[in-house]
Symmetry: D2
Subunit: 118 residues, 4 copies
């Protein structure tokens, strides 16, 4: 059962419309939603070494919490795209193409340097 972006968008739309939440979901507040949920994801790894961060993903309880935060970020990304008619597939492919120009393989391979300094 391969799920499409559109299927997920519809789920999110239904959830919000059943609760009559369009009135609170302007672009600014949805961007706040994305940002605050992203910080909750990050908070799990705060003060943890890279090894500890990785290990968390093998603890079932911590993994579920982390997956929940990732899902919350996705929820608001989908909601933003549904409310304001962003074609996420198209936007992602266009962005990947732009990033490919900023980070050409030959220059960027094996490097963690920002494109402004490549």
């Amino acid at each position: 059962m391969p799920t499409t972006i559109d299927d997920l968008k519809l789920k999110v739309k239904d959830f919000c419309e059943e609760r009559d939440w369009d009135q609170f979901h302007g672009p600014k507040d949805l961007a706040i939603g994305v940002s605050t949920e992203a910080a909750e994801l990050l908070e799990h790894f705060r003060f943890q070494s890279d090894e500890q961060a990785l290990a968390l993903l093998n603890e079932p309880h911590a993994r579920e919490e982390i997956e929940d935060e990732l899902a919350d970020v996705l929820f608001f990304v989908l909601r933003f795209s549904q409310r304001f008619e962003v074609d996420l597939t198209k936007a992602l492919l266009r962005k990947i193409e732009k990033s490919g120009r900023k980070y050409p393989i030959q220059k960027a391979k094996g490097k963690n340097t920002k494109y402004t300094k490549l």
Copy 2:
């Protein structure tokens, strides 16, 4: 051409593996990726009224920038899920179910109150 989450994950995987970036993409750094891109999305609406925020989406240039930031957030969400084997569809549906219990329709309808205060 309905695109699946798995199609997009594969695009993101290819982009990063061609650049040999697995070594930089642990969970902590990818969570930083999600969070910093989310802030760039939000930055577009800073000090703007809700009306101005909405109007930005009707200016082609601003809209493209905003869509790019949304795509960047999605990029890192997909990359995180690909690297650490998170089934995003399953995670999202499970989270929506949990949220449904926190925000039952009858209590939450038309309200912007946090579930802890409902």
Copy 3:
């Protein structure tokens, strides 16, 4: 009793050193600290209108929570500056001067436009 930045830095230093936390407080993790606490501050205003956001500051319980989050951000800013010898006063005054050049009074007065578009 006017408190100096240095007094506050010392309080933060003592708190962390008593707990032997230098080992966890590298620049990356302290920046994560600043960022996640900032998101917790912002979370209070999510989905709230500007009027509701303002009203929260008049409810004693909500105000205390908001002040706590602001204090948490300041805590990590002070800790970062203490650990890595940033003179905050100097840094702030230098930044204000730079911002003054980006936002000259005559151009910026009464406008919420980003300097790149002024």
Copy 4:
């Protein structure tokens, strides 16, 4: 010349009032300000190892950029406190006391564990 928090608040106040920016600086937008500047600070350390993050602070150009971001966060923290009459010193000391109860020295010493799991 030990600088007090109140001195810095006044600098920030003057800068904003000269530009007639009170109208844009409600609590929600100032919290967005804190959060987006915090992400810009964090962005410097993205995909960098802890060693690389530390090394950045020894490169004069990178250090100045990082100090600027830290100053931007402080700017909005001061502006928030000035606009909405938060006594930052009092708020910080109260928060440190609360944190002391969450993280008693004997339990928290040498540990990077969140208080909910201590």
